[in-house]
């Protein structure tokens, strides 16, 4: 899908939200929902940053770490991929305090979602590194580079381009998963919507607004990733397209 279509959709979504806001029945809910949306965005951004860090480290650890590190990274990836994000949130928030470790709900949200998506991300990073042509590694060896030099200067810059689209998917997954944090006492967008719905029973306006807000957020993300991809592949294949 072209980037113009995406921008068109975003403009449409925002326009519909704005149009709804002119109606008294809808305007009522907007401040509360926007407040929730801010929390959602905060968790999504911090969680994504943690996911990138975890993904890169776990991938490098699994590929090049000494045996214990490799083992640890594999355990991490399999635990966080193999159990549901909801259970991870509950475990960190309700079970950990039983062992004397109480974490703030916001911190739990960022950590759980970041670790969860990071586990998937590590496979994305690992796959992208392995997809770089073997000849590139061999050229680095022939130039006597160390493994760190190869990765940093030659392999990762090429792998980066291949990573962008799958990371885009993961970020959107993470954004949508933030709705789960309403179950550990956080007042995110989904929580606000449920709360308002319980108080007013105005189901249609509330959930229509919420739907459009999530869509708008994920469209912003998709457009951002598309622009990044375009820039990065331009750097890799300068001149190929003339």
């Amino acid at each position: 899908m072209g980037i113009r279509t995406l921008i068109g959709m975003l403009v449409a979504a925002v326009a519909v939200i704005a149009a709804m806001a002119t109606q008294e029945a809808y305007r009522l809910f907007l401040p509360g929902l926007l407040q929730g949306a801010v929390l959602t965005i905060e968790i999504a951004i911090l969680g994504s940053l943690l996911a990138i860090v975890m993904g890169v480290f776990a991938a490098l650890a699994r590929l090049y770490g000494p045996a214990p590190v490799r083992w640890l990274a594999t355990v991490y990836v399999e635990i966080f991929r193999g159990t549901s994000a909801l259970v991870q949130l509950f475990w960190l928030f309700f079970v950990l305090p039983q062992f004397g470790v109480s974490l703030d709900a916001f911190l739990v949200a960022v950590v759980a979602l970041g670790l969860n998506v990071g586990a998937y991300g590590s496979e994305v990073v690992r796959g992208a590194i392995l997809s770089v042509a073997r000849g590139q590694w061999e050229a680095c060896t022939a130039l006597n580079m160390s493994r760190a030099q190869m990765l940093r200067r030659i392999i990762l810059p090429q792998a980066f381009v291949a990573m962008i689209p799958p990371w885009g998917n993961l970020f959107i997954e993470l954004l949508k998963s933030t709705a789960l944090v309403s179950l550990i006492t956080l007042s995110d967008l989904a929580f606000k919507a449920q709360q308002m719905n319980q108080n007013t029973f105005k189901t249609i306006p509330i959930f229509t607004l919420v739907l459009l807000m999530y869509l708008a957020m994920s469209l912003v993300l998709t457009i951002g990733m598309r622009l990044l991809e375009r820039r990065a592949s331009l750097g890799l294949a300068r001149g190929r397209a003339g």
Binding site: A133, G135, Q136, E138, A139, T141, A142, L143, N144, M145, S146, Q149, R153, I154, P157, Q158, G235, L236, A237, R238, G239, R240
Partner: protein, 259 residues
Amino acid sequence: MTEQPMVRFENVSKRYGALTVLDGLNLDIARGEKVSIIGPSGSGKTTVLRMLMTLETINDGVIWVEGEPLTHMKKNGTLVPADLAHIRKIRAKIGMVFQSFNLFPHMTAMQNCIEAPITVLGMKRTDAEARAAELLDMVGLSQKKDHYPSQLSGGQQQRVAIARACAMRPKIMLFDEVTSALDPELVGEVLEVIRKLGREHDLTMLMVTHQMGFAKEFSDRVCFFHAGKICEQGPPNELFGAPKNERTRQFLHAVLEAG
């Protein structure tokens, strides 16, 4: 006392599972010698270069470079498999040019040539650029220094790859079928650069090639590989002019027929 060989393969074997690619190879290459390796595909000739570049491990034997073990290191008077630090120390003397060029696609010709001198040798950028400019000039590509590999022809890419390898100042250069991926009309420009390199630089060269004419004219010695062994070797005039071995005769006959 004879001079130390630049490279010595001592009883080197390479196996992939049950398949023996090289079987007890013994080969000495003198300083400054130009050696061509010819032979049918699957004879193990490329493996010789790849083992010397440490792109392949070996199963038996020892490879020596200037009297020092490459694949092994000395520990308490015996040879043990080398660690990476030792390999990197010895490997610094060797450079390689590949069949498929393997230039870094996200870097210009100039950047390709200064990358390793800066990151590996720790050269200053200005010094590295000066050296790279000289080498790009030698391969006739000063004009193209700011071009990316995708903007260059195959022959030009291979010439950049030769400049890149030379920028590390190796003593030994390995050429692995460097013209095999090129269109026929581009082969000449690359061979011309290799000739020039042989004349102007004090390099030991080891090349796997299908260019029999070039091997004959350029090398001091030609080795014919068959089934993981050196079947016959000698000065090009003898090996091409009067091959002693039946297999060599068959191979040369087949190749020259096709050429």
